[in-house]
Symmetry: T
Subunit: 139 residues, 12 copies
């Protein structure tokens, strides 16, 4: 399992990034998954990482933050590796500025989870896990 | 916890509606929650049910299906009861027809979970539970 | 005189709904009018009520709330009974979200009164009364 | 064969609704069909009726009137029962206000007949009959 | 009765154009009508034919195919001869690409029949016949 | 109380402007208010008058007529004096040309009354009076 | 005959404003008309002048220059005096910036002449004269 | 001088086409011009005629009627022959349906005259004559 | 191989049309292809020619010039013959007026070559040849 | 000659990237050109490479892939180095999702070649070569 | 140097208008410039003042406030006098309501300074001074 | 003070980049500020640099060049560090292509300075300095 993201500034209220990562790792363990983290503000680096994920990973959880509404390149990368991708947003992007609502990634993602703070990552992990176990789509 | 929805025809592949409800009830039990189900194709009935939810419930999980993009009345009802609402879609609405993407409810919801089949309900239940426990937003 | 409406959640600050209705009834009496109240969250019920109004009523005062911007069916009902209709909004819909501004009912209404809280109903009653007395349009 | 509709106020010039229904029943007999009528101003009631039609009917003729341009829920109901549906409008919706032109139902209907008054129903009946007899699409 | 059209490539599944014309002629005979066929890919030729129809014909049935959404000149020709025109499409134009939905001819036509294959022509013939007999609009 | 306006040509059917002003003055007296009239076709003059109103007046009733949809300068003037303003239109602007519907002033006004002829002024006076007496918003 | 206009800066290449006026006056004489000139950069002054034109003039020739695309107030003034108005532009507004093309005045004008430099005024004078003589519309 | 046009149906109230042509020929004579008429409903024929005009003519007067808003091909033909073209419309296209307002030809024309019935042709002739004499643009 | 086109006025700088055709014929010979030229300003003639191409040709090279952005009929003709079509533009249509950018033909063409003057035709010939040889799409 | 590009995932059906590059190098040799390849998913790296190309190269062939519709920065880089640039797309971008059609680079490119798979690169090379030899634009 | 403006209500926090003017005059002195102030809410008066500025002034600093987004007339006046104009806004118009962002004046101005309170005027003065000294554009 | 930017190709007429930087450094000295320069064509590098600025800098001056209208990620970075940012453009972006006008950064910036060549940087420095000294917003 692959966890990517750009830095989303408005978050991590009472928890540090380390705590969030620890909770993600812990839940992954419970679900019998291994996760790798990758964070970058470089669209190209994220794309390179996605391309490299093919073969080694079963799913991608991605928080595209500021690239959400513009990065067709990121979308094409996700579509090309043919891995199930769960798009995550900590804030509810549909309750913010109008231009933030339409993700260019969402049409090639498995699904989108938005609005639950760091909990969004945990839900995404579960969603990916359920999908991998074959429970996702036939539910 | 309150679970509302209109009938979403394209789903419930290998599972019957009863199985889905059973899984929801089971997870609710694990999370220490009680849930009530309400399904109707009548917008007015859904609104009445939401109004009645005030006081008796801690959160709403709602699948607005065909009312998602048009029902300002449903949005106003959700906003007026001031309960955290998790919007659920079984299919990934962002990967379907363009007109399905912009939910009028989402701006007044806590968050949105879309694309994971019946698993979406379970994730929504967890999201609501986490929020109630105060883990949601400060994560 | 016919008074219809859906429940508009954001209002009735210091007054209860009963007080508002009492003030409306009192003013109706002063103006020599009888009024009937009808409230429903069901678009179909409102339409049925409007259809039944033909013959028995001289005017309609309607607060369409969440149905304002979408219900072409309500508009067609108002247009078909050929009664003067006064559209009422307690809040100033033109000062809220952009999507609330364009009422689909307004083009078939006599006029629109918006922004004066419960006082809007009393003004609407006066507007309808003036119209019935033939003072409205030739003023 | 199932005939649904909301009340379309601007019609039935010299004919009463009963006369129209009688003509429809008569033509159905000629075509060797049985028809059932269903009229409601409640979107939910129309949707429930459509859902119930599955299995018992071969086709749906529907006049969505004021719900034409907004009811995604009605569209989803039609799509889900997988019955051929003929959309009917008594007036020519393309010659009226701009907002009436784009039916949200039409993309999931077999076809649309608009502008011929009550005759539209008879044409729709013939269209559905021809389709059922396998003459429709291969013509 | 006048039958115009441009060649609509996607049709005539199991029937040849001749068979379709034969069925149209046969139905016209049953309805006591005479029909003339005119097919051209030249917008100007269609317009000339429409202008010449004035006086000699009672109605026009037209399949504008690829000219549907752009030919204001065809629209003006139809409007100028003041004959009732029935617009026909073999496929359901409302279920195809978005740009095909809005016919520039429809606002000046009597009505539109779309989606029933070659059967569409027969329905259009009946619609025109009914209109001529004075049954169309007062139904 | 301040009454401003540009000349609205389509009105004053059976009443002269003087009669209308007389009725306004009379109602003001009944309500215990004093009113001042100001009419100009010069946007700048209206703005100057609004700026001068600060301190001396409790409310503004304004009929912006042809400046309704374009005058951001008038809007800014109203917003800057921080007086409650009631926007008045004699005709129902929502039933006229599309471009007349969206008032640039309305978002900074207390409310809008539209469609009741000269009666609109009297209703506006009452609305302002009710607001000043503290009955407006808490109703 | 009334000639109004705002100063249109980009013109009067080889001719002075006086020469243009002289040519207009001369042509007016030939056509048996009297003309009055009025130029102002004040929208309000133009509107006042139009209102005053009622009764004393048979037609208006107006060059609205920079007010062309925005002044609904000017449009309403022209519509209210019910005099035939010829809209004139020295440059071809349809060949300039996109935003200059749609005149808000044109829908209430008799017609529009654009693109012929100062000659535009002379053509407008002839157009108005022909209209007054009853040659305009029945031509 | 070249006069082109498609048939514009809504015109020629009290005058026959022959009378209009006679008046045009007469005025041409007064202005020392020769004119040739060309009328066709075939876009291609109009384009061919325009291409042939190069060299033999000094100006084009064109009434594009139903081709006005769509024919980029006609526009390109006019632009390519580099002759001054005066666009003529008998009715005021800016006062009709919204879609008629924006001529695709106008940006490559010398100017546009619209709304004066058959008189429009005479004005266009004068405009072209003035331009040829070098009075047009430097006025 | 079929070569169609309308006359594109802005081109053929230093080369005559004959020279261009000669170069095309020469290259066709080198590639082992035969070409036929067809030029018309009549949309209908181009469509007729395309329909006739079925069976006799392996590919179409088409320069739609002024018909590019509007001719749905041409698009439908190309789609119906099911021949690979290469769309050619001598100028770079994406660097000209905004309205020229979106070709209605392109979605049914094999590809588009734009901006290389007469060389565009030669490139299109090569593209078609490569496609026919099965090198095109699997490259 | 400079060849840039981002990785375009949907291509290279039966050919490996190496084969494609080999064919490009071979054709370059035939045309008497030297080419350099540069591939990156980093917009900044592509821009740096373009800036460095000034002076050393005669032309740029660029496949912007996912950056096509958004990268104004890439456009500005191409425009600033003032080298002829040929934009290449392997798939026909005009036949895919609507949002892919409008390249922000195209207006500053020499031309665009789209839809011919890897052959597109070879055509682009020829287009650039022809342009350099002075055959491009005067053809 | 010419300083124009309409009254911008939201500003002048801790400074009076006099203090601002004093600071402007002082800085002008330092820069070796003379300035004249002109404030009006009358668009016509501002235009007249700009026309009069030709010849006597080297530059214009203008705060168009509420006229920013609508006054084409003001834009035309600035363009016609051919003086460098610096557009000033005290608040950051790009951070306010969407409709305030697009200034119709900006395209004919030298540049725009927005968001720095009264300091904006001082910066504008420096910008104009630098431009006059020939430092502006070649910097 | 932090100075960021991407390379803006169209500038630095008679001055080299070094000269511009020297002038900036000199002015910074006069104003008692220290500045650091950072230039990159990599959006990610600019974002990293902004994140690192928190704590060490009092303000940011940024020229986003080609990233201006698309980089939501840059906007989010600026918003997250909560430093006053002055957006600078050497050319007047409001006088160039339409798509360049709406900066996605501007709504989170302190203000914007556009159109004064390299002088824009000096003005931005002064604006930031004034803001830091507390003179900015209360002016």
């Amino acid at each position: 399992m692959n966890l990517l993201g750009t830095r989303e500034p408005e978050i991590y209220g009472s928890q540090t990034l380390d705590e969030v990562n620890a909770r993600i790792t812990e839940l992954a363990g419970e679900l019998g998954l291994e996760v790798e983290f990758f964070q970058s503000n470089h669209e190209g680096a994220l794309i390179d990482r996605i391309h490299d994920a093919r073969g080694d990973f079963d799913a991608i959880v991605i928080n595209p933050a500021g690239l959400t509404t513009t990065s067709v390149a990121l979308r094409d990368a996700i579509a090309s590796v043919k891995l199930p991708a769960v798009e995550v947003h900590l804030s509810n992007i549909h309750a913010r500025e109008e231009f933030r609502r339409e993700s260019v990634l969402a049409p090639v993602a498995l699904g989108q989870i938005t609005g639950f703070g760091a909990e969004s990552y945990l839900l995404a992990l579960r969603a990916a896990a359920a999908y991998i176990e074959g429970k996702g789509k036939d539910g």
